[in-house]
């Protein structure tokens, strides 16, 4: 008994020591002589990851001074934040365009102006809206990777079934509302069977509805304008759907929707005829509902505001060099390649989006799988392109607006009430934010 215990104990000790030794071995970096290694952290998976991997591989093979080590990881912002704060950030990070102001105010990312000049990268090579997203307080902080715009996607078959002309989708919001009313059908108990349009589907840009009606969320200086009359008008329009079709009926209908990424997606399965969606929607249609007859047009504008035509929510992924990166020069050499027409088209074609550059090759248009790619690209030029306000408190502001949207959709508050509350809260937060900046000697 004693001997067995002894052997057992020593065996355990051996295993533990062995595990320690092995784990240390795995995590010890084996630096290879030769090219400079730069760490690049990105957020993508699946075919999107493959697209960037192709770009990285091409770059690595094309020269032998610099080798990019690509790491795909979820929770990219969290991880990059911790690493930058801890002083060992990656050399290049793929973050989110709308948060540039926050990153820059936090001094988390380096200005890229000098590098841009060195490599001849300038604003006139880009579609203005995409360049502007990375431009903040007089400096270039980020360069775009893959862009996105949104448009009204509509189901031609459902249009036909409701007696509407599938080649004549609505141009104004009022037309869309009435088309939606024609398409929406309910059963004897009042349960919705089919819907023409629902502002909450997919519900990814609930902060943006105000812009579609000409409202703004910020005056560009120190005033938050959440309860701007046009914003209230937009939310009244949103609430009109809840009033017309009933909160419970809409909720029940909504809970019957399948997962977004599946054939049971509301739009893909013929439950909702029209929705605001992005340039990637065509991928999902091809994957899950290849037989769907669909079209895309710019999202409608209010009939009394034709100046708001071609409104589209605009977004982009960006590349930044975090503060404290070990090899910023080499990092930018790689970024410059991504920003070149060759690199960018490889990436954007691989991800099936359009490109943020002005110059586009004929090959790109000809081979792109999205039949409406030109529409999405053109919408980026629109003077009514919608981007979130470039303020450091945007993440919280966006969350507040989403919550307000929920509240009015559930008829818990009137649009005026909900937006007044957002206004009060966010004005307070913005004042505090500016106050703290001044405390640090960074007055605006």
């Amino acid at each position: 008994m004693r001997l067995r215990d002894l052997i057992f104990t020593w065996l355990l000790i051996l295993i533990v020591v062995g595990a320690i030794w092995y784990s240390e071995d795995i995590t010890t970096p084996h630096p290879e002589p030769g090219p400079v290694h730069i760490a690049y952290w990105e957020k993508w998976t699946g075919f999107e990851a493959d697209a960037m991997r192709d770009v990285v591989n091409y770059y690595n093979r094309s020269q032998n001074r610099i080798h990019v080590d690509l790491l795909m990881v979820s929770g990219i912002e969290n991880k990059t934040l911790m690493a930058t704060a801890g002083g060992n950030p990656p050399d290049v990070a793929g973050l989110y365009g709308p948060n540039v102001a926050q990153y820059a105010d936090d001094h988390a990312i380096q200005p890229l102006d000098a590098y841009c000049r060195q490599y001849g990268i300038s604003a006139d090579q880009y579609i203005p809206a995409y360049w502007n997203m990375g431009f903040y307080h007089g400096h270039v902080y980020a360069l775009p990777t893959t862009p996105a715009t949104t448009a009204l996607h509509y189901d031609k078959t459902m249009f036909q079934q409701a007696g509407l002309d599938p080649n004549n989708p609505p141009k104004t919001i009022e037309e869309m509302d009435s088309d939606a009313a024609r398409i929406t059908t309910t059963d004897a108990q009042g349960h919705i069977l089919k819907s023409g349009f629902m502002p909450s589907e997919p519900g990814w840009w609930n902060w943006a509805w105000g812009y579609f009606f000409g409202g703004k969320l910020w005056d560009g200086k120190d005033k938050i304008t959440a309860n701007d009359p046009n914003n209230v008008r937009a939310f009244s329009w949103v609430q009109s759907y809840a009033k017309k079709y009933g909160v419970t009926e809409l909720q029940t209908f909504h809970s019957g929707f399948g997962n977004f990424s599946s054939p049971q997606n509301a739009f893909l399965s013929g439950k909702v005829a029209m929705e605001l969606q992005g340039v990637w929607m065509s991928n999902f249609i091809n994957k899950f509902a290849p037989g769907l007859k669909w079209g895309a047009v710019p999202f409608p504008y209010p009939a009394d505001r034709p100046d708001l035509a071609d409104s589209s929510v605009l977004d982009e992924d960006i590349l930044v060099i975090p503060r404290g990166a070990k090899h910023p020069k080499e990092a930018f050499d790689f970024i410059a390649f991504v920003e070149s027409q060759k690199g960018m088209e490889m990436l954007c074609m691989g991800q099936r989006k359009h490109t943020p550059l002005r110059k586009v090759s004929a090959w790109f248009w000809a081979h792109h799988p999205n039949p409406y790619i030109k529409l999405f690209a053109d919408l980026a030029w629109s003077k009514n392109a919608i981007t979130p306000p470039k303020i450091g408190i945007w993440p919280e502001y966006g969350a507040e607006l989403s919550n307000a949207f929920d509240e009015i959709s559930l008829m818990q508050k009137t649009p005026r009430q909900a937006l007044d509350e957002v206004q009060a809260r966010m004005q307070g937060k913005w004042d505090e934010y500016l106050r703290h900046l001044r405390l640090r000697g960074e007055a605006r």
Partner: protein, 304 residues
């Protein structure tokens, strides 16, 4: 003549005792000093600063705390958390204890049953999100299908209706019962058999046996699970965050730690988050001390 000095001998013994005890406790003591002290003190300091993690903290005194007092979302999440705790703690306690007693009976195939009950607590978070959405879906979810089969009219829309989202989370907690049940089971093994036999001789039925033998002998473990329950439910995070990071619909399942996390890592307001953290700490501390005080009379420690 050297006189025998009993006091010195006793102090020596006592000193040896203390040294031995400290040696036993040394892993924790060292670990605390190295891994815990700095983060704890740092976070207290941060709670009095404007700190975005990426930049050095700047002292702002009590600003964070006064801002919290006026922050509507702070109060919303605090109330949400309390409501949830009020539902989840008693419910969880009843369910886990009953399950443990059930799983302690001598029925064939018990090993299999126990594994089954333990399974859901093994699922990785990413799979759980989808599973729960499936079970609680208002239209075709498993739960509502069952309720409809039992002729319950209009089963609620668990995920979409703000009145039902918190109860849904409390129900969902059943599946993570596995851990607490296992702890109870281990504790049940240590209830001395002779006590049961003596109770049998007295003609006690199983209810009486449970009440007079099992529960008292199990009381230290019950106390453990209860306190862990308080500490755990007040910090509820993973489950609701995975279902809806923003706490939809309308922040009905937006809980305290979720708002804390958002402030820390998404809004880059770590100082504010630290203030929230320490407020929660105080609340949990008070509740735990209350629980310990109340339980003092009811917990029986067999070893002393």
């Amino acid at each position: 003549m050297i006189l025998y000095r009993p006091e010195k001998r006793r102090t020596n013994m006592r000193r040896r005792e203390i040294i031995t005890a400290l040696l036993f406790a040394s892993p924790w003591i060292i670990g605390f000093l190295v891994f815990m002290l700095y983060p704890l003190l740092a976070s207290v300091y941060y709670s009095f600063c404007d700190y975005s993690v990426l930049r050095a903290p700047a002292w702002i005194g009590l600003d964070n705390y006064t801002d919290l007092w006026h922050d509507e979302v702070f109060w919303t999440t605090l109330t949400n958390t309390f409501w949830y705790a009020l539902m989840a703690i008693p419910f969880g306690f009843l369910v886990t204890l009953s399950l443990a007693l059930l799983l302690n009976t001598k029925v064939r195939g018990m090993a299999l049953y126990r594994t089954i009950f333990f399974l859901p607590s093994l699922l990785p978070g990413v799979a759980l999100a989808v599973v729960w959405m499936w079970v609680f879906n208002g239209d075709h979810g498993v739960l509502n299908e069952v309720l409809r089969a039992l002729h319950v009219p209009n089963p609620p829309n668990w995920l979409g209706d703000p009145h039902y989202s918190k109860p849904m989370l409390a129900l969902l907690g059943i599946w993570s019962a596995g851990n607490a049940v296992v702890i109870y089971l281990a504790g049940l093994q240590d209830v001395p058999q002779p006590l049961y036999e003596a109770a049998d001789l007295d003609g006690a039925g199983w209810i009486a046996k449970t009440w007079h033998v099992t529960l008292p002998m199990l009381s230290p473990v019950i106390l453990f699970n209860l306190i862990m329950g308080i500490i755990g439910t007040l910090q509820v995070f993973t489950a609701p965050y995975v279902i809806s990071p923003s706490g939809s619909p309308a922040r009905s399942i937006y809980f305290y730690t979720m708002y804390l996390y958002d402030n820390a890592f998404i809004y880059h307001k770590m100082g504010y988050a630290c203030a929230m953290g320490w407020i929660l700490f105080v609340i949990i501390l008070i509740l735990t001390m209350a629980a310990l005080k109340i339980s003092e009379r009811h917990v029986y420690y067999g070893g002393s």
